[in-house]
Each structure stands twice: as structure tokens, then as C-alpha cells.
């Protein structure tokens, strides 16, 4: 069947790089930056059991971005970030408000809020389609393949696309914040009571984390869309947690996984001729499943082997 092209290892490896380095290398770097920045922030979401809050925020940004497009009619980054941040924080506030002021439970409050925001965003985009320079396909799976490479800045003699610079700065800011506030983030994630007794303002850290999350999602939005970004947030950390119990190790691992997703995704997308962002997440999911099954410490294989041994030793004792 010609739906799935024949697999040839040599072409699989060389195809993305055959027409010069320039195209694929930027996609690779962009993918890495998105995955790594999201992965770093995502680890703290996993620890706080707020994985789906990331999903909620990423859906909620849409009306903010759409409204900014409608008002300003431009792709000005500052305005877009402001609009998206406002929408994201509004949704976080609204979820908390519904959850605390009414009898609706948190999961339902989350579900109601982000779908409403997202629906409003989709309506704005489709009703004002001619005024909003944003199509629904971008919302669904991003456009990492052709992000504004026409605009670029000269950095150290090479032309670097502007979106990539923005993502690079975002990644560095996230990295710096995680390193500087590592202790605070750690303590508030594991034991908010202890954090308060140490004098760490837990609610400030919480809102800071939410800000950081919104920022990362805003800049990742055009690359991977509103839905796939949840994978970038959760998968690296969850996969890392299968391999280690130490947070510094998991954080390092999630940055490395970010690179792997990006590289594997590009090759997969080239082979299958499909969405690059989608392929990155598929390879991330594949890696997760692989480690889940074959992890040397707690993988399914090791667990079932142990269980077999136990059973056979029980039999021999009897």
C-alpha cells in the first residue's frame, strides 16, 4: 500500500538533510527549544498534579491571540504575548473562582472554562477569517515547518529567524528562572506547608509558575498549536520520571528528550510526509512507551520477570 512509504534506513536518515542544511537545521533547533522549555516547566506541573492545567491554559490563549489580531491587525509579538497572557491568566483565575465559590469540582471547572475560551477563539477566527492571519490548522497542529523564516536577524554572522530567537530567549529565561528559584519551586511543589514555614511565598511561586507556563505556551503556540503543546509539557518529565527519582536528573533528561523528539520527529515527518509537530509528539509517545516497557528499573518487562521469579521461587519452596 502506498499510503505508508517503503522504509529505507539510508533515505530515512539522509532525506531531511539532502537539500542543504539550512531548512531542517532551524526546524531542529526550534523543535528542541520548544520541547526543552516546555519540558522544564512541565516537570513542575507534573509534581503539582496540574498536568491538565497546562492543557487548559494552552486552549485558553486562543481568544486572547485572536482578539489581538482583530484589534491591531498585525503580528506584533509584544501585543500577541500580552493578549495571550491576559487570556491565560483569566482562565486560571476563572477556574479557581468557579472551583472555590461554587460546588462545581475542580475537574469540571477546568473542563467548562477552557472549552469555553477555546470555542470563543475558534468562533473569532472563523467568523473574521479574512482579518485574522491565523488558520485553524495552525491551532490544531502548528506550523513549525514554515515559521516566518523570511524575517531574520544577523547573529554572529549567520541569519537567524526571529521566531527562533524569541524561542531561544524564552528557553534561556525559563532555564535561568528554574536554576535561580530551584529550591523554592522544589519545596512548594512537594510540601507547601513546609514552604510557608520557611517563609517562601507559595502563592507567588504558584502565580509565577503560571506566568512562566503561559509565556512558554505563547511562544510555542505557532510552532505546535494549542493541543500538541500538552505533550511537550508532560511527556519529557513523565518519561524522565520512569528512569529516575531525582528531580535534577529528570530535568536534565527532559532537556535531552527534547532534542531527541525534535530530531526523530523531523525524520519521521520526512519519511511519512506528515505534520512535523505531530511527528515529534508521536516519537515522544513512542519513546515513552519504549521506556515504560523496557526501563531497567521499573519497566513492565522487569516487573513481569520479577513476578515470574517470585512465583517460581514460591513453587520451589512449596
Amino acid at each position: 500500500m502506498d499510503f505508508i512509504p517503503t522504509f529505507d534506513l539510508h533515505t530515512f536518515i539522509t532525506a531531511p538533510w539532502s537539500d542543504g542544511l539550512s531548512g531542517s537545521i532551524w526546524i531542529l533547533v526550534m523543535g528542541f527549544l520548544v520541547n526543552a522549555a516546555c519540558g522544564l516547566v512541565g516537570n513542575f506541573l507534573i509534581l503539582r498534579r496540574m498536568a491538565l492545567v497546562g492543557d487548559a491554559i494552552s486552549h485558553s490563549l486562543l481568544p486572547g491571540i485572536a482578539v489581538v489580531f482583530l484589534i491591531s491587525n498585525s503580528r506584533s509579538t509584544g501585543l500577541m504575548v500580552t493578549g495571550a497572557l491576559a487570556a491565560g491568566l483569566a482562565s486560571v483565575w476563572l477556574i479557581e473562582f468557579i472551583h472555590k465559590k461554587t460546588r462545581v469540582k475542580q475537574d469540571a471547572a477546568l473542563g467548562v472554562t477552557f472549552t469555553t475560551f477555546f470555542a470563543i477563539g475558534v468562533i473569532l477566527i472563523s467568523v473574521f477569517a479574512d482579518q485574522v492571519d491565523l488558520d485553524l490548522e495552525c491551532v490544531l497542529y502548528g506550523e513549525i515547518g514554515w515559521i516566518g523564516f523570511e524575517d531574520s536577524w544577523l547573529v554572529m554572522g549567520t541569519e537567524v529567524p526571529i521566531p527562533l530567537l524569541q524561542m531561544g530567549v524564552t528557553f534561556l529565561v525559563v532555564l535561568a528562572l528554574v536554576i535561580v528559584f530551584y529550591k523554592e519551586l522544589l519545596v512548594t511543589s512537594f510540601d507547601s506547608g513546609l514552604a510557608t514555614s520557611l517563609g517562601i511565598p507559595a502563592s507567588w511561586i504558584h502565580y509565577g509558575l503560571m506566568m512562566m507556563l503561559s509565556l512558554v505556551i505563547v511562544f510555542s503556540f505557532e510552532s505546535v498549536g494549542a493541543i500538541l503543546v500538552i505533550a511537550m509539557l508532560i511527556m519529557p518529565g513523565a518519561t524522565g520520571a520512569l528512569l529516575s527519582d531525582r528531580l535534577p536528573h529528570i530535568l536534565t533528561l527532559s532537556v535531552i528528550f527534547g532534542g531527541f523528539y525534535s530530531l526523530a520527529g523531523i525524520h519521521l515527518a520526512e519519511w511519512l510526509n506528515c505534520s512535523i509537530a505531530g511527528a515529534m509528539v508521536v516519537s515522544g509517545f513512542g519513546l515513552f512507551c519504549l521506556i515504560w516497557i523496557a526501563s531497567p528499573r521499573r519497566g513492565l518487562l522487569v516487573l513481569s520477570l520479577k513476578r515470574l521469579k517470585q512465583r517460581s521461587s514460591e513453587v520451589s519452596v512449596n
Binding site: 461554587t102 477555546f118 470555542a119 468562533i123 472563523s126 506528515c274 509528539v281 521499573r298
Partner: protein
């Protein structure tokens, strides 16, 4: 209670019948009229002339019912986000179902999507039980992982020769106008099956939803009902795809049910309300998307549902924010009035009830309030007919003006003081409090003690006459004597 569902069934049948009685003669496709004004479109929609409109309305009604029923159970089971996971996980199934037949065969897509959705929920369960990854992260992984596989397949299909005609885009945000007859039949079947199973096993679903351990302990197969619910959920998500779309179909489950949850405490009422809200949202979505010439239906349905949710959130009689706020205000003002009444009583008590009138200045000192505040309090008392003024002079509210209790004011003042002192006595005698520690507690509770509790306290304390501080506990009879005895 037993009449309501019959009425809703009856009205449903009427609508159903009317849709088929209208002739097909004036039928036109939706896209044909591009330039029409609002009222034209409004009448076209509600005259049910277009067959596609009829399909869309019927589908929305059925889907609203089905989602409302099932959504109520997932909301009370706190599984809302499982619905979201399930709806994203069906995407690869939709794509594979399409590839199987290479046409948009509803049954192939139905089977593929159901399998993918169920597999998604099972994988969440596996990850959750075999690793130390928490359930929310597991849902995030499955949601995005399955969705990404679906996106890859979807983009691959678009590159096929007839891929662009596949119309799979419609599954993303829904297009009720594109529903075919077989889609409608499928929605009807799923709604019917859900309705039947929920009616048959209502008790079982109820018990397993609220107290799983109890259900297991009386021998109910709780797991069986959980998976039965998941299966129905998967069916409803899959048949809802065409009309609402993958991204938002979970909201059709959550939002109407959450709205109903804000309005009632009884499960059967919640089920009925949720179905009604679901139907309203469905019709709203179909209507608005029709107005704008083939706009996606799903987002409009969700915004309609969310509007209802917002209204219930603000104005729901029992749990709404505004009614609760009003009740709070009323309570606060009642507490103020009661405190003023008590202060007047205490001033009179200090003078051994020899003086009938109490001046505003005395009242201000007793309540520790400036004269302006005291004036407001006194005005309230007069409005409630608890007190009268000595004279209706032009200079009504100077500090020497005296106020007098009316009989009802007197009775209420006695009641509050009585509550306060009985409670103080109860705390010292039965709860071993020190007499100097009981005042603050009594200060709070005096406003909320009901008649029954006061009777109970009296009996418990053997009809006391003095409080721990040696003051008289007023009973209505005593005080009438004091008042008339002067």
C-alpha cells in the same frame, strides 16, 4: 416528578413529528443563499424547510439528551477530564476508519473511533497502575500522544489523491449541516441505548457513582458499571464528532451537566436538567452556525452551553452567586438589627427596667458606634416596626431623642438575649468552659439558634433563670411581668 419526563418525551415526539410533516418542496441547500438577513435566516431555520436543518436539529436534540445524561454521571464521578482524554484519543481511530474504506463511511469511522477511544482510556489506566505517574499526567500523555498519531495520519491522508475530499476537517470542529441520514440513525441508536441502560440500571449507576466501596460491599459489580459507562461515553463522543468536533465534544458532556449540578441536589433532576440544557445548547449551536453559512457548529454549541452555565452560576436560586450574596447581605443586616435590639435591652436592664425610653446617646455608648451609625440602626428598627420614637419633632435624630420598644421589638430583644445567655450557661455547665470565656462564642451563635435547639437547651439545663454571670435569663412570661409590673 413522574410527569416531567413524560412531558419532555411528549414534546420531543411532537418536534420529531413536525420535522417530518413539513414538505420537502422548498428545500434548498445551506450554502445556496449567501446574502440573507437575520430574520430570513431565522425563519428559514425554524420553519425546518431544509432537510439538512432538520437533520441538524434532530441530531442536536438527540445528542444533547445523550450527552446530558452521560455527562451527569461523569461530572459526579469527577471523571470530566476523562471525557476530554477520550475525545482526543478517538482521532487516530477516525483516520484509520477512513483508510479502511477510503470513503467517509460512518460505520467504519464509528468502529475505528470507538476502539481508539476505549484503548485510550485503558492505556491511561495501565500507566496509572503500573508506574508511579499520576492520573492527570497519564491523561495528558495519552490525550496528546493519541491525538498526535491522529494528526500524522490526518496529514498523510491529505496528501493522498482523494484525501482533500475526505472532509476529515469537519471532525475537528464539527459541522452539523453535513450530517447524513445514517449519522442521524447512529446518534438516535446511541441515545436510545444510553437512555435504556440508564433507566434499567439507574439504581446501580447511582450507587456506584456516589459510593463505590458501598456498591462493592453489597455485591454490585462496580467495575462492570464503570466500564459500561465508559463504553457509552465512547459511543456518545464518537457520534458527537460529526456535529460538535473532536476538540470540543467533551464540553458537551461536562458543561450541561455542570450547569444542572449548580441547580439541584437530586440525581434524577440533574439528569433531566442536563438533557434539557444539552438540547438547548445543541439547538443554539446549530442555529448560530446556520446563520453564518457553514461556520463550525461545535464552538457555537459550547458557547451556548457555557452561557447557560454562566447564568446558573450567577443566578441559580440555591447555589448562584448573586442569590447567595443577597442572602448574605440580608443575614448581616438581620444580625445588625438583633445586636441593636440586644443593646437596647441591656441599657434598660442596667436601669432595672425602670426607664422605658433609651436615648440615642446611650445606645451609641453601648454599641460603641458614632451617632451617625446609631441613626441608621434606629431607622432600621423603626422600619421593621421594632421601635418607635418619643416624638416626631422636626429635629428627629438628636442624641437625646429616645426610642421605645414596640411589643414585637421587645419580644425579639428578649429572644436574642435569652439565646445568648442560655448558650453561655450551656457552655459553662455542659462543656466546662470558664464563665469569662463564653461571651464571644455566644455572641456568634445567638443569631442562629433555632426554636427547637432553644427548647432542647432549656430542657437540658432544667429551665434555668440565671446565666453564669448572675443575670436574669429573660423568658417571655417573666419579662411581660417586669414590663407590666412597673
Amino acid at each position: 416528578m413522574s410527569i416531567k419526563p413524560q412531558i419532555s418525551k411528549l414534546s420531543g415526539l411532537l418536534i420529531f413529528a413536525s420535522l417530518f410533516l413539513v414538505s420537502d418542496a422548498c428545500a434548498a441547500k445551506i450554502g445556496e443563499l449567501s446574502e440573507t438577513n437575520f430574520s430570513d435566516q431565522f425563519f428559514r431555520f425554524f420553519s425546518f424547510k431544509d432537510p439538512s436543518v432538520r437533520y441538524a436539529i434532530l441530531a442536536s436534540l438527540l445528542l444533547g439528551t445523550c450527552c446530558g445524561l452521560l455527562g451527569s454521571f461523569i461530572v459526579v464521578r469527577k471523571l470530566s477530564l476523562m471525557g476530554d482524554t477520550l475525545s482526543h484519543a478517538v482521532l487516530p481511530g477516525v483516520a484509520l476508519g477512513f483508510l479502511w474504506t477510503m470513503t467517509k463511511d460512518p460505520w467504519a469511522i464509528f468502529i475505528g473511533a470507538t476502539i481508539a477511544g476505549l484503548l485510550g482510556t485503558v492505556v491511561v489506566h495501565w500507566i496509572h497502575t503500573t508506574t508511579h505517574i499520576k492520573e492527570d499526567s497519564a491523561m495528558g500523555i495519552v490525550l496528546s500522544g493519541f491525538y498526535a498519531i491522529g494528526i500524522c495520519l490526518h496529514t498523510m491522508i491529505q496528501h493522498l489523491p482523494n484525501g482533500n475530499k475526505a472532509g476529515l476537517d469537519k471532525f475537528m470542529f464539527g459541522q452539523a449541516a453535513a450530517l447524513s441520514e445514517s449519522d442521524l440513525v447512529m446518534i438516535a441508536v446511541v441515545t436510545g441505548v444510553s437512555l435504556l441502560l440508564i433507566t434499567l440500571f439507574y439504581k446501580e449507576f447511582l450507587v456506584t457513582s456516589f459510593d463505590n466501596a458501598f456498591a462493592s460491599s453489597i455485591g454490585m459489580p462496580a467495575k462492570f458499571f464503570h466500564y459500561q459507562l465508559m463504553l457509552l461515553l465512547a459511543f456518545s463522543v464518537v457520534v458527537g464528532l460529526q456535529a460538535v468536533g473532536i476538540v470540543l465534544v467533551s464540553a458537551m458532556l461536562i458543561t450541561p451537566a455542570a450547569t444542572a449540578y449548580l441547580l439541584t441536589d437530586r440525581m434524577h433532576r440533574m439528569l433531566i436538567l442536563a438533557s434539557v440544557f444539552g438540547m438547548m445548547a445543541g439547538i443554539g449551536g446549530a442555529f448560530f452556525s446556520y446563520l453564518g453559512n457553514s461556520l463550525p457548529t461545535g464552538p457555537f454549541m459550547i458557547v451556548s452551553a457555557s452561557t447557560l452555565f454562566g447564568l446558573a452560576l450567577l443566578f441559580g436560586p440555591r447555589y448562584g452567586i448573586v442569590p447567595r450574596w443577597v442572602r448574605q447581605l440580608n443575614r448581616n443586616s438581620r444580625i445588625q438589627i438583633e445586636n441593636t435590639l440586644k443593646a437596647v435591652y441591656q441599657i434598660r436592664e442596667k436601669a432595672d427596667f425602670k426607664e422605658d425610653g433609651v436615648s440615642l446617646q446611650q445606645l451609641g455608648e453601648q454599641r460603641n458606634l458614632p451617632l451617625s451609625e446609631v441613626k441608621k440602626e434606629v431607622k432600621r428598627l423603626i422600619r421593621e416596626r421594632f421601635a418607635t420614637l418619643a416624638s416626631s419633632d422636626t429635629d428627629m435624630f438628636n442624641q437625646n431623642q429616645k426610642i421605645y420598644f414596640t411589643p414585637s421589638g421587645w419580644e425579639n430583644a428578649c429572644r436574642i438575649v435569652r439565646n445568648h445567655r442560655l448558650w453561655e450557661l450551656y457552655l459553662t455547665k455542659s462543656a466546662q468552659y470558664q464563665p469569662d470565656h463564653v461571651h464571644d462564642d455566644a455572641e456568634e451563635i445567638e443569631h442562629v439558634l433555632g426554636e427547637n435547639i432553644v427548647r432542647e437547651l432549656e430542657r437540658l439545663l432544667d429551665f434555668p433563670t440565671l446565666d453564669p454571670h448572675g443575670k436574669l435569663i429573660p423568658s417571655v412570661i417573666d419579662l411581660k411581668e417586669v414590663q407590666t409590673g412597673q
